[in-house]
Subunit: 373 residues, 2 copies
Amino acid sequence: MTQPPPARIGNAITDVDTPALLVDLDAFERNLQRMQQLADTAGVRLRPHAKTHKSVDVALAQISLGAVGQCCQKVSEAEVLVHGGVGDVLVSNQIVGPRKLERLARLARTATIGVCVDDAANIADLSAAATRIGVGLDVYLEIDVGMGRCGVAPDSGAVTLCRLIGDAPGLRFAGIQAYHGKAQHIRGAGERAGAIRHAAGAVQRMLDLLAAADIACPTVTGAGTGTAPFEAESGLWTELQAGSYAFMDADYARNLGADGAPDDRFEHSLFLLTTIMSTARAGTAICDVGLKSTSFESGLPLVADQPGVTYAGPSDEHGTLRLDGGTRLGLGRKIRLIPGHCDPTINLHDWYVGYRGEVVERIWPVSARGAFF
Amino acid sequence: MTQPPPARIGNAITDVDTPALLVDLDAFERNLQRMQQLADTAGVRLRPHAKTHKSVDVALAQISLGAVGQCCQKVSEAEVLVHGGVGDVLVSNQIVGPRKLERLARLARTATIGVCVDDAANIADLSAAATRIGVGLDVYLEIDVGMGRCGVAPDSGAVTLCRLIGDAPGLRFAGIQAYHGKAQHIRGAGERAGAIRHAAGAVQRMLDLLAAADIACPTVTGAGTGTAPFEAESGLWTELQAGSYAFMDADYARNLGADGAPDDRFEHSLFLLTTIMSTARAGTAICDVGLKSTSFESGLPLVADQPGVTYAGPSDEHGTLRLDGGTRLGLGRKIRLIPGHCDPTINLHDWYVGYRGEVVERIWPVSARGAFF
């Protein structure tokens, strides 16, 4: 069900078929370097999130700059990463069900594999899978630091779970998963920092409880693109899981920095190339990017490089562009859009088209597209 | 980038890996028969829309019951259908750009291929591609009957375009594309019928203009699941393009019938199977269906068969279920969801798992998944 790539290496951007996922390689590489530098400066490890990029090529580029490995959300993503040569993968999520647990354990034969838990029965199931396959798994207790989704409260029950992990055959207590997803898109830098201070309180409570119980906690892992500087400088987190920084999107671009101006630490490197396919109605143009090639739950795509043009709304295969008075976009014209939300947009595509200048330089498969098992 | 199927034929539903796209084959087959019967009774042709199902297997099932072929939105979808054995495909959309036009023309070597236009330059480009490849294409003029997207007004300019088509080497004027997408989800049956009466006025104007110009109009094609009975009985449309009726979704289920009760002509046959993966927080359960396995722009999924459970919101890989007082869903429990909008949801999956009773009977590839070129 994989489509052929929309371009060949050496093509001009204008010859790329649409809709296509473009990567500005210069901006992308600067983003990778900046986040690695942020982690290095703070003395913490960077474990970028492959749920964003779903690409072995991107993972290996991040690791070549100093990332310790990858994290991901699904066993099938971990399979793609390990098969592609990533030697250290943390599934930053709960894995439930015998088929998935066996596949996860099998991966630990060739790579360092971590996984998160928030349930005693799940710990027992993980232990059974690991011993059956004859491997060791790194297990992290997920605590809820404000996300309100998975994870337990940092209390005595959490300590009991950590002890259960440490005592379970085939499992190693590797530390704490502490990710505050809701904080990532709080617009004001002060409020965003405040949310992470609150999360840090929960992490500190958990660390104090573990210390009192004489349980070593090797790692505290978490953070995303919106909050990474705060976790990095907290003195508590030892590992950052950011993902979107490699590409950025329209939603992250609405975050503000400490000075109240848009936070521009990372650049847009990901674009959707789209073709104008109908100009029959005055004041609008119809393009070929709709619900099946970009996601909309975090807002509409932005139009890059075309003042006077606004993406006004999608249907399944179409996008309606509103043209300010006088603006013209001819039939067949190709323009770039900035996706509203990079993760689910990338998951709709089979290929990245990496370009430098105006020439296609890389064609990368979205190797874990559809890997939601 | 295609994932392995989540089940094998003969598996119990409870053994299907998740997230998975389930098809209740009994309900699906009844839906197919009902829409074919609606078309047969009205004496119009049924050309179901493959943009919904993206499946050769579903297309061939529809054709075996009497459908004249398929329509779709993209050349790459048409390629999949023709390659799979569908002999008559209408691309109910504008196709722009030399690469796509050449691929479209090549398909006409082995199948009857139609396409829509709303622009004189595009007609010239289509003609050039058809003559270069040495084929004939059926070309439909798209008129705007209320959708406000592609298509021209039914006026003298439209007649000129029809004449241009008829005069262009390699092209045959096949008729009018008249689809009112916005009417499909108008909730009240009377208001929905009114929107199609308005569309019928535009179609009648176009037919009158063509008759006055002595241009034969072989086909008027359009309609969707929400309005098909109205177009079928109009005496104007000769072909129906409905797609969602095969599966239905939560959005269509909010449409009302003539009696003011929910319109239940077609049944939900499409479900998402999901696993409970975290129960750490009281009053909620976390399942494994989020933005990467179902679409949300037409509303949240509904929970089937589980009173007291509501899908309250998604993140990328998770769904939060709200549990009414006393309701319990254990870790590892699998439940069925009804997608909010079937078309973009199906496009996220590689496989349909067709079941009858509680046993897997068919594994169908979503053969045109990601076919947006």
